[in-house]
């Protein structure tokens, strides 16, 4: 899309790379195996529709060894407390119909594979749905319960539980058919330079991944690891909360979590990571 002056930039980067020789110019070569059992794909050939990258990397590969270690064992992973909390909620009835998640889905393991394909087109509803939207649809229509706040604790915990049973499976989000126009909208947003700093997602996560921006080692901004426990705010963070923070940091008016703009962006960003393993809940800084 709008990518002017690649040459000038390439020259600047070459210069920067020379200066930074020896610094963290690339993701590291560590391998992620969780609980000595689940082998994660943290590096894959970029999907054909991710035009400007040849390889996609999980954000895990850009984190320091100590942070990485926390995700390698569920006893160390601080996000697992929230997964356990959600497991209780899973089988607790709520709402006018007296149903819990378990009433319809039995064991949460029955949802293995779900995280890997969301956001996903829902034919009956005629819309692209994120996992959060689907959960709220179940709460309203199957349980007669109130919707959860889009980025609230209950919601993010539940997405962590559902994600945890798909860990290791490759992300495989569909972008064709009726989802395509939303995907295009997300792509447009990904390359739009917003705010007073006039930065796009691509500026940081496509053009500059592997480089330091002040104290942060830039990753590709992939979302295969969500929700993410961040050491910085010591809680689980949802995809849209992260997007909101990144847009705000360009000194822009951000978008609302759950808005059509962020659903489109999530579909697009998820699809850039097709082939990477579902890692959520992951640990980042």
């Amino acid at each position: 899309m709008n990518r002017p002056q690649t040459l000038t930039r390439a020259i600047a980067f070459a210069a920067a790379a020379c200066v930074a020789a020896g610094a963290n110019a690339e993701p590291d070569t560590d391998q992620l195996v969780v609980n000595e059992e689940i082998e994660m794909i943290t590096e894959a050939a970029a999907p054909a529709h991710t035009e400007n990258l040849s390889t996609v990397y999980s954000g895990w590969r850009f984190r320091a060894d100590e942070t990485q270690a926390l995700q390698m064992d569920d006893f160390e992973n601080p996000a697992m407390i929230f997964v356990e909390a959600a497991a209780e909620v899973w089988s607790t009835a709520d709402g006018t119909k007296g149903n819990s998640c378990a009433s319809c889905h039995e064991d949460v393991e029955s949802l293995r594979g779900v995280r890997a394909v969301y956001p996903k087109w829902n034919e009956a509803a005629g819309e692209v749905r994120t996992l959060e939207m689907q959960i709220n649809d179940c709460r309203e229509n199957q349980m007669g319960a109130d919707k959860w706040k889009y980025t609230g604790g209950d919601m993010t915990n539940m997405t962590a539980l559902i994600s945890s049973v798909s860990r290791g499976m490759p992300v495989n989000v569909a972008i064709d058919g009726p989802a395509q126009s939303m995907w295009e909208q997300g792509k447009e947003l990904y390359y739009t330079r917003t705010g007073q700093l006039e930065l796009s997602c691509a500026n940081c996560h496509e053009d500059s991944y592997g480089m330091m921006i002040r104290a942060d080692h830039l990753s590709q901004g992939q979302i295969n690891g969500f929700p993410t426990y961040r050491l910085k705010n010591t809680k689980l963070n949802s995809v849209h909360a992260r997007f909101k923070g990144c847009v705000r940091d360009t000194r822009a008016e951000t978008f609302k979590p759950g808005s059509a703009d962020f659903v489109a962006l999530e579909l697009y960003v998820a699809s850039r990571g097709n082939g990477l393993s579902v890692e959520g809940p992951s640990v980042r800084n």
Binding site: R3, P4, Q5, T8, R9, A12, A15, A16, A17, V19, A20, A23, A25, T192, R193, T194, G195, Q196, L197, E198, L199, N203, D207, S208, M211, M212, I213, R214, A215, K244, V247, R248, D249, T250, R251, A252, E253, T254
Partner: protein, 158 residues
């Protein structure tokens, strides 16, 4: 009486004269990306420039490494290292780059520090809210630009 009044008027005029010398963001004259004349007429203060390089609206070392600022932690590597930058660029060029780098380097990732219009979804600083109606402040004031340029002019190899 009459003389006193005239004198006051003259002082007022000079005072307005000084403010009028501050070139507004929309009036900056770029020639090949460079800006020949000072934005304020007041020489830049290199020491203050060094402070702006570090934090607040400048935060240049988020993206650039500068050996002379090694006492500060965490220099980024998005843009070129700035050591010796005054050997590579003239003062006018540096002023143009700091004021609006996208004119010298089309499509640059470097923010435009002296620009107040043409943004998409302009926010109110880092609040995530929309910028209120009314005047937009550039990332750096005219004098801060001059201070940063004065600092950059000290970055010479010899």
């Amino acid at each position: 009486m009459k003389i006193a009044f005239l004198a006051a008027a003259a002082i007022a005029l000079t005072a307005t004269g000084v403010t009028a010398e501050i070139v507004k963001p929309q009036d900056v004259a770029y020639v090949d990306g460079a800006v020949a004349t000072s934005l304020t007429g007041t020489p830049g203060n290199a020491e203050n420039g060094a402070v702006i390089m570090n934090k607040g609206a400048g935060n240049c070392i988020a993206c650039h490494e500068v050996t002379a600022l090694n006492h500060l932690p965490f220099h980024g590597e998005i843009g070129p290292m700035l050591d010796g930058v005054a050997d590579r660029w003239s003062e006018a060029e540096l002023r143009g780059i700091v004021a609006n780098a996208k004119i010298m380097f089309e499509g640059s990732m470097m923010p435009s520090f002296y620009k107040t219009s043409g943004f998409t979804r302009l926010g109110d600083a880092y609040t995530g809210k929309a910028h209120p109606e009314g005047e937009v402040k550039p990332l750096l004031t005219a004098q801060e630009i001059e201070d940063v340029v004065a600092y950059l002019m000290t970055l010479k190899y010899d």
